[in-house]
Amino acid sequence: MALLSKKDSKLVLDPLADNNPITIQVLGICSALAITAELKAAVVMALSVLFVLSMGNVAISLLRNIIPSKIRIIVQLVVVAALVIIVDQVLKAFAYELSKTLSVFVGLIITNCIIMGRFEAFALGNGPKKAFLDGIGNALGYGIILVIVGFFRELLGSGTLFGFKVLGDPVTKTGLYSIGYENNGFMIIPPAALIVLGIIIWVQRSRNRALIEEA
């Protein structure tokens, strides 16, 4: 017996590729550009969004029948704000250095279009189990892109992955650096993230031509 029915697993798997919130719906770009210079920050950001989106989706889904539709945006904001503050405080308590790197962007999860979008489009019309799976799926779809962009930017820009010097030491000239390789300073700055993201979108759409919009 499968853990999830076919319909339910589609909720989780669809946003990973063919309905990805970043590359297909082009939402949540700001944070994808800002915090992907290091892989570690990208992973933490992805986990934070995973927590906020799955919990928020469940909360909104449970409340969906008692929220007056006129003030639903305010209710949604209160839910996100509460969850984001929890994430922010946890980060400050247990990973202070990292919370400084992420700085304002954890707080800005509140305004992340993906979250409000899922609340509006899915949680308000579906039960808590489905909403939870949808939240997990979309957050993973967001996270997977963040991690891919972060991987290339940290590897090419700093020569490290999660802070480990995988290409050798640029100061003592070991590994690749001994034959004249140098880090690419362009990958550190945010415009590079836009270009890496563009290449991901390009590759994805040329693999699956059904995704190309009509001009």
């Binding site: 390789y181 140098e182 690419n184 300073g185 990958m187 700055i189 270009i195």
Partner: protein
């Protein structure tokens, strides 16, 4: 050779590799097929010939760059000759040998990687190879420092051709000048190889030393030393004009750039409007800066003082301003298309180049940034020029008095248009 290519072309017609053979064929010879119906005006100056004309204008700069690479290394090691003689000190075989061994690889890598990608995209997309890279490939080695590592150049060229051009749809569709995209990529990715006093002389990074001492050789560009506040220049104005100064490979000799410019203007390849307005823009900004210094508004300890008090017309003699205005700003794809637009576009390029030169703290040169910025704005400029023209003509129509025609005239008009 010609017949062989014809046969090869026929053999591969309709096959996957056809674009590659067609490109080689039309690059060397006039195509052997013509349109079958209708009357057509046939001109020899297709896109390939246009590109070749620009390349011809660039060749003197390239050859001068080779001699200059050797000369700069020679004076860095041995000191400047007391009495300079063009044939004994500059146009020597040893200078040329140093130059050709460092610069020819740059040219080969630039063309090899760039054309390789063009061929690849043509085969994938199944259309003819586009000519756009012919000029870009020649410009790229001319606008980088002599000692740029070849692998860096290769990566930058791949980036520039794919992201700067192919993603927009290839030659003629690009928003940014591909050669400058490559230059900008190098500048942001590897700043230590693009500025400072170690990159302009061949061998300085590798640690060559001066003759009879253990001091490492170095050479700073004129703009570089101005940005550091060194006002006394060891280069005379004629050195700057003829180009016996350190700098990127092809940008130093202003007289050869001027000759290239005249050649391009008379062959009607490049727009004289952009060149003239670019020079005017640079002079205007330079005059403003000189005026500020003369009025005493800027204290002498300001870090901008030396660059701002640099005589306004000398800005044209140093750095890549002249090269950029003549060969890069006039790119017909990325520049303005309307005549009035060209004046505005060129003027702003010159104006901003000098402004960025003075105010950019990291790098005392701004031509490539200014041209890239104006590339982005060129369509906007054209849009408003065209809109302004439409408005003007509508206004003329409103104020015009149209006399009623007599019935005879109306009849004659009818027969004319019938």
């Amino acid at each position: 050779m010609k017949d062989k290519l014809h046969q090869l072309k026929l053999k591969y017609e309709g096959k996957k590799m056809a674009p590659a053979f067609n490109a080689l064929h039309t690059f060397l010879y006039t195509p052997n097929e013509t349109t079958h119906s209708g009357a057509h005006v046939r001109g020899a100056d297709d896109l390939k010939r246009t590109m070749n004309t620009v390349i011809m204008a660039l060749v003197p700069c390239l050859i001068f760059g080779m001699f200059n690479a050797g000369y700069q290394q020679y004076i860095a090691i041995n000191g400047a000759p007391e009495t300079f003689s063009l044939f004994n000190d500059f146009l020597t075989w040893s200078n040329f040998l140093v130059g050709i061994t460092t610069i020819l690889p740059l040219v080969i890598v630039s063309y090899g990687i760039g054309l390789g990608i063009e061929f690849l995209f043509a085969v994938i997309k199944g259309h003819e190879v586009e000519e756009g890279y012919l000029v870009t490939g020649m410009l790229v080695p001319l606008i980088v420092p002599v000692d740029t590592p070849l692998w860096m150049l290769a990566i930058a060229v791949a980036f520039g051709v794919v992201i700067g051009k192919e993603v927009f749809g290839g030659t003629g569709m690009n928003i940014l000048n591909p050669a400058l995209t490559i230059r900008a990529f190098l500048f942001f990715a590897y700043p230590t190889w693009m500025s400072g006093d170690k990159v302009w002389v061949h061998g300085a990074k590798a640690g060559l030393t001066q003759a009879g001492s253990t001091d490492a050789i170095s050479g700073e560009t004129i703009l570089g030393s101005l940005a550091q506040g060194t006002a006394d220049l060891s280069y005379s104005l004629s050195d700057m004009f003829y180009g016996f100064i350190p700098g990127s490979v092809g940008e130093t000799s202003k007289i050869l750039i001027l000759l290239g410019a005249l050649f391009l203007i008379f062959s009607k390849i490049a727009s004289w409007r952009i060149m003239v307005s670019g020079v005017l823009g640079a002079l205007a900004m330079g005059l403003i800066f000189n005026g500020i210094v003369d009025a005493g508004w800027l204290p002498t300890y300001s870090k901008f003082y030396t660059l701002m008090s640099f005589p306004y017309w000398q800005h044209l003699l140093v750095g890549g301003l002249a090269f950029g205005i003549v060969f890069m700003a006039t790119d017909p794809v990325t520049g303005s298309q309307t005549n009035r637009g060209k004046w505005i576009y060129g003027f702003l390029i010159g104006f901003m180049s000098v402004m960025i030169r003075v105010f950019n703290p990291g790098y005392p040169e701004g031509v490539f940034l200014a041209i890239l910025l104006m590339n982005v704005f060129a369509p906007t400029i054209d849009h408003y020029v065209v809109r302004g023209n439409i408005k003007k003509r509508l206004k003329r129509l409103k104020t015009a008095t149209i006399y009623p025609k007599t019935s005879d005239e109306v009849d004659s008009l009818k027969t004319e248009t019938a």
